[in-house]
């Protein structure tokens, strides 16, 4: 590592220009189509403004004060965290477990990996419709089968206690195949020689997994953790299609509440909706920073 550093310094000056050139298209598009709207919504959050964009006035911190008093904001924050803290470990854990079984390039493993990927191809809308039809406690096929089999069925999406776990399960069901594909690709890229060396040292399967596989795919794992956490904190589609936030607001997430305030319920208070999204933005940013610090440090530690 130290040796490389010295060598690389020579390229820095030359690299600098090149690097900016490489970044130019992406930075341009992101600035125009993401940063500008983002800054716009930050500005909107300190105004009184609805989606008709007429009669705009300065609101100061009014919207932010209001959101800390709003019990639906705290409820939605709880729901988003609940979803994230269960869904991300479930999806990544499941994918890791599968990786152990399926990170080989024989026919069986390839076929199963393709099958698992299948739900990921489908839109969340489609998945949501299918699962809510299958799990409907009165008319659904799965609920009916369970009843026929003599199980005391739960109402899944209709039960305030079970709605969120059901949404989590469906999300993990949809996404684990993708995570698995990424991880399997990473595992297959680990040089075989490492495993052979470990074999000679007499390491068992579990030890090899902990000491070779995990460090070898750590950058992929940390990528998966960070991106799925960010994604999960913004959960919207699933609940929008399957539960509309209900029953009793038990699946209403922050983004859903933002959508409801800004676009679904008159007086379509865009200022307030933007304030909540700034609040969400801060939460996610802090979570990501902590995660990156924690996850990346461990990764680098494992590298040495």
């Amino acid at each position: 590592m130290e040796k490389n550093k010295g060598k690389r310094k020579k390229y820095v000056a030359h690299n600098q220009k090149c690097a900016y050139l490489f970044l130019l298209p992406s930075m341009f598009i992101l600035s125009v189509f993401v940063f500008v709207p983002l800054i716009a919504s930050f500005v909107i959050s300190i105004t009184n403004m609805n989606i008709f964009m007429k009669d705009v006035s300065f609101a100061g911190l009014k919207n932010f004060i209001q959101l800390f008093k709003d019990s639906r904001v705290s409820n939605a924050t709880f729901n988003s965290l609940y979803f994230t803290l269960l869904e991300v470990p479930l999806q990544i854990g499941l994918a890791l477990l599968m990786t152990v079984c399926l990170a080989k390039n024989n026919r069986y493993c390839k076929l199963l990996r393709s099958i698992y990927y299948l739900p990921f191809v489908c839109s969340m809308t489609a998945i949501g419709i299918v699962w809510s039809m299958l799990l409907d406690p009165n008319m659904g096929l799965f609920a009916y089968w369970l009843k026929q089999a003599g199980f005391d069925t739960i109402a899944f999406l209709k039960d305030p206690k079970w709605a969120m776990p059901t949404v989590i399960a469906v999300t993990a069901w949809k996404g684990f195949g993708y995570t698995l594909t990424l991880m399997a690709a990473a595992v297959l890229n680990i040089p075989q020689s490492l495993y052979e060396a470990a074999d000679m040292d007499g390491a068992g399967g579990f030890q090899k997994f902990i000491h070779i596989t995990i460090p070898g795919i750590w950058s992929t794992i940390s990528f998966c953790i960070v991106t799925s956490t960010i994604g999960a904190m913004q959960m919207f589609d699933q609940a929008y299609v399957m539960t509309q936030g209900g029953p009793l607001n038990k699946t209403e997430t922050v983004v859903q509440y933002i959508y409801d305030r800004g676009f679904q319920t008159a007086p379509y208070n865009l200022g307030y909706a933007s304030a909540i999204s700034v609040y969400l933005f801060v939460i996610v940013a802090v979570m990501t920073l902590v995660l990156r610090k924690f996850v990346l440090n461990r990764g680098e530690g494992a590298d040495e």
Binding site: V12, F22, P37, M98, I115, Y116, S123, M139, S219
Partner: protein
């Protein structure tokens, strides 16, 4: 002793993976066969897995209601354009972050990550106004451009590039290649599996996206397939039969493409193993 243990765990692995495969397949199979049910068949109680009477009625109904072919064409142009452009831009940016040192790299990378944290719903209205000001509303360019790069893609490519051995570009530099040639001739071919997987990801996301294309197009003729099919999901009354058929229609091209790409994809992974 250890042989026995391995065998047991292998069997457990097979059972576990097969069970999971069944769980994955049943709902999708149900969707497929149910799209051939009659209206009465879809809502029948007690429910049945296979239709009593197979019918193409739901597909014909969907075909009558919306211009499927035009919408499919729009979707291909939109999702395809976004995929090609963002693969290029994402991998360029990802490469810069992973393999080049420059001032502000950490800061820039954090800023890019921040853009992933913005719920799309909230930037939608400002974006609409922006696209309108550029006179790009209701055009393909206006649909493609805002999506032509993504923080997710940049992050993914950069984490892939940083996993590659460091000696690779050194040899290119020793040969006197330019940075762009190194990127093009050495690095890009190596990341074929990552590119394919990111490409599929982008293509599918944009193919399936509903709100974004619906907002930025203002006539049915410019609408994408999934946004167009959303019209069939009733407002006051949901027609489940056509909804299922519509879902299958929007899914079918992706499934075909996926089966096609999957082969390419696993092969790509196998051949790109680092030979050192």
């Amino acid at each position: 002793m250890s042989k026995r243990k391995i065998r047991l765990s292998t069997v457990a692995g097979y059972v576990f993976t097969l069970l999971a495969a069944v769980t994955v397949l049943i709902p999708i199979l149900w969707l497929l066969v149910s799209s051939f049910k009659t209206d009465a068949g879809v809502i029948k109680f007690p429910p049945e897995f296979f239709p009593e009477e197979w019918t193409l009625y739901q597909y014909l109904y969907v075909g009558d209601s919306i211009p499927i072919f035009k919408m499919t064409k729009n979707t291909v142009v939109f999702a395809g354009g976004v995929t090609v452009l963002s693969l290029l831009f994402d991998s360029m940016a990802g490469y810069a972050f992973a393999r080049m040192r420059f001032r502000g790299s950490k800061l820039l990378f954090s800023i890019i990550l921040l853009t992933m944290m913005v719920p799309f719903q909230i930037i939608m209205t400002p974006l609409y106004i922006e696209v309108y000001k550029f006179h790009l509303l209701d055009t393909y360019l206006g649909l493609i451009l805002p999506r032509a790069t993504s923080a997710f893609g940049i992050y993914m490519m950069s984490s892939f590039f940083s996993g590659l051995p460091k000696s690779l570009e050194e040899s290119g530099r020793i040969d006197g290649m330019s940075e762009f040639r190194i990127f093009r001739s050495i690095m890009l071919p190596l990341c074929k599996p990552a590119l394919v997987s990111l490409g599929i990801f982008h293509f599918m996301n944009n193919w399936n996206d509903l709100l974004y294309p619906l907002m930025l197009t203002s006539s049915q003729n410019k609408r994408t397939l999934s946004a167009g099919l959303a019209v069939l999901v009733g407002n006051k009354v949901i027609k489940y039969g056509p909804t299922l058929a519509a879902t299958m229609i929007s899914l079918a091209p992706l499934l075909i493409l996926y089966i096609f790409c999957q082969k390419y994809f696993t092969e790509g992974v196998a051949t790109s193993g680092i030979k050192e």
